[in-house]
């Protein structure tokens, strides 16, 4: 196999992906963890008593914390809203919360839920002088119709 035949697809894939410069399936810049900003978000659910509602025990398998995080970032990118470092505008957070909640409850049988209110929180982690701190911000609250 010649050097050209061994590497032409490598070169093609790299050059085209770099020229496109954004996600255009199947071309990608593979940007995962390309920087380490001083924040990270994880999304959790609680009931009216403040107890954790695990995704896997209550929702279909494609609904999970990772998926919600992806959708949160997609929402902010799509609308060109500023995001990150726990400083998003509360109006945008509520807007995102409403949309994420709607996606979460889509196609779910709410009759089998054993809670009356579902609260979506964004947990904001950051590093403060080598100590990990976090706070939970309420994004959206939804009454459940049984």
């Amino acid at each position: 196999m010649t050097v050209m035949r061994k590497s032409f697809l490598f070169l093609f894939y790299v050059v085209v992906s770099l020229l496109i410069g954004k996600e255009f399936h199947p071309f990608s810049l593979f940007p995962m963890y390309n920087s380490f900003p001083n924040y990270s978000y994880a999304f959790l659910l609680k009931n009216e008593k403040g107890e954790l509602i695990p995704y896997r025990k209550n929702f279909s398998k494609d609904k999970n914390a990772g998926g919600l995080a992806h959708q949160y970032y997609a929402f902010f990118n799509y609308h060109h809203y500023q995001g990150g470092f726990g400083g998003e505008d509360s109006v945008y957070i509520k807007e995102a919360g409403k949309e994420l909640m709607a996606k979460l409850l889509q196609d779910e049988n709410t009759n089998r839920f054993n809670f009356d209110t579902l609260r979506l929180y964004k947990r904001y982690y950051h590093l403060d002088h080598d100590s990990i701190r976090y706070r939970d911000d309420l994004m959206y609250e939804q009454a459940i119709n049984h």
Partner: protein, 282 residues
Amino acid sequence: MSRLLTINTYSDTEWRFIKIPVAFFWLASIRSANINHELVPYPVGIFTFINGSFLASAHTVMVFFVCAIVLALLYIFEKWMTATTFFMFALSLVLFTLEESSGIFNRHSLYTAIFLSQAFAYYRNKPALSEERIQFPVQLIAGGYFLAAISKIRQSGFGWFTEAPLASIQMIKGYSYAYFNTGDVKQFEKGMKHANFILEHKLLAQSLLAVSLFLELFAWVSLKNKTTAFIYGLLLTAMHIGIWYFMNILIGSIFYPMIIFMVNPLYLMYAGLQRLVGLLKP
């Protein structure tokens, strides 16, 4: 093993032990694709040009999945491979772009590109087909890792690895997902333990990140021959295991094609068993 490392061609048996897990993981990825069935909320890729809503309904996606099962079987049984791999590419393109247009980036790009490269290899139908149907995908996989390195350097500079203490924030995120998904608080405690370990051992963390950046940046070395692909595959496997241990993150859509095409673990087990049986024979 010595034969594997010295002969620079791929046997039909090796190919068989590649295509079976590829078909399996591809099907699993398609089955678990997280697609919004009502609309395409954040269109990307081909759906920035055409409205993909008509393809996103639950019924259509189910039909696509049935087609994927048929294609996977044709792929395993080596039937009409130019058309089969091309349609696997087309199906991947539509379904995974729909998933990405739902805001979920599970990084399935390599599967889609791999099937197109194999369609090209089968279309050429040269005597080197047995090598090209494996080496072409290796080129794309190496390209993916190289792009990941370029992305890090462009975003954070060569000093990306010096930000290691801040990686602890990302580590705790991965374990938080596990806690919030399952309700098992031990996952969160484990994440905190790992994150604090990184904060207490900054130099070690920086060294590990520097090694991983180096591995990604020089992924093209794997293209030299089958031996370099195999050794590089082992190094990348070690890197993924490290990421999985510390961060509870395994990007399967990148890891599985890499280990299958570069290391071929099923074939290694088969060859090892054959050798063992040979030794035990009187």
